[in-house]
Symmetry: C2
Subunit: 205 residues, 2 copies
């Protein structure tokens, strides 16, 4: 049995979409940020980082979107990772960039307190975040295949992640029309059954 | 043929150690930050992100430490990834945490200009970075196996990365003695042939 601890406004939507793509049974557990449920002792016992997603698997607990996705593919859906080692590496190159650069740039809009203590610093970060996030999106716009998926002609683990994070850009009032490839990818993903299912189940805002 | 574009003070040392662990032939190319070589047009043509590492492979160019490591293991050394899917996922959980949390916390000590524009904001980030980095190290200290490697009894891709980034902590005057498991891991890794070879070749400061 799989249990996904998630919040529909957070990056945990990516894991939910992959669970839906693989048509797996799973139990969703809402981590309600409005009552700081991510810091409740029972949750911290599962995930000391106090973040989502957390996936309970038959083998134990996993955190980090990239690790959860690669695990789900390895056990339940190897077709979500390219057979070719170089194309698989390009997929992971995209995944690491999304995790460590694009999402980090986005997080500075809202989570400056992670990295600085003064309100003026937070305001500075909030003001700059739309620019750094747009620069990251411009890099992806020019670098990925969009053929029509991020890496080639089949959906891989990179696609749901790219879809969710690109969607976050609109929260920073970034106009996605300037990125036609990413915009087309948004439409393509938005119409997938798995994304509709994740939304219907409340896994994605 | 493999060509690694690197700087001995940067995270590219991780890829160099893995190349040495696998005893692969590779050509190192120094990206000299003192002359901003990472922004030279020829380098940006290879890696538009202007960062290291960049690995040229027979199939094309790869960036992002995590993608390069997984590629090298897939093609040349599958023993560096646990056979068990859950243990492999724990390895990648560690790798994503190193890339997207620990390294990001460290980067705020020196690279505040990525995320804010005011000098006061950079000073704020620099002051906080030793605390956020120490908190990340404390999490890893309590979470990993250290048996004696990060994930179990064999070296995996997570180990060289953990080794190099933990070493960076001393640049922020963090006393590693408070983390006995990480300290023992530093000693274990420091005495490996691959680490000595990487240092001898100027791949690691």
């Amino acid at each position: 049995m799989l249990t996904l601890h998630h919040n529909p406004f957070a990056i945990s939507a990516v894991a939910a979409i992959v669970l839906e793509e693989l048509e797996l049974d799973y139990t969703p557990v809402l981590v309600d940020f409005r009552v700081t449920a991510q810091q409740a002792p029972a949750y911290l016992a599962l995930n000391p980082k106090g973040r989502v997603p957390t996936l309970e698997t038959p083998s134990g607990v996993l955190t980090e979107t990239g690790a959860i996705l690669d695990y789900l593919a390895a056990v339940h859906g190897p077709h979500l990772v390219p057979d070719d080692a170089f194309q698989a590496a390009r997929m992971r190159e995209t995944m690491y960039y999304l995790a460590a650069t694009l999402h980090v740039n986005y997080a500075h809009a809202l989570r400056g307190a992670r990295w600085a203590d003064a309100e003026a610093s937070w305001a500075d970060m909030t003001a700059k975040a739309p620019h750094t996030m747009a620069a990251s999106l411009a890099y992806l716009e020019g670098h990925l295949d969009f053929a029509p998926f991020a890496i080639g002609s089949s959906l891989t683990l990179a696609d749901p992640w790219l879809f969710v994070l690109t969607g976050f850009a609109t929260r920073l009032h970034i106009d996605l029309a300037q990125f036609p490839n990413l915009s087309a990818h948004q439409v393509l993903m938005n119409d997938r059954y798995a994304v509709r299912a994740a939304r219907t189940k409340g896994m994605m805002a």
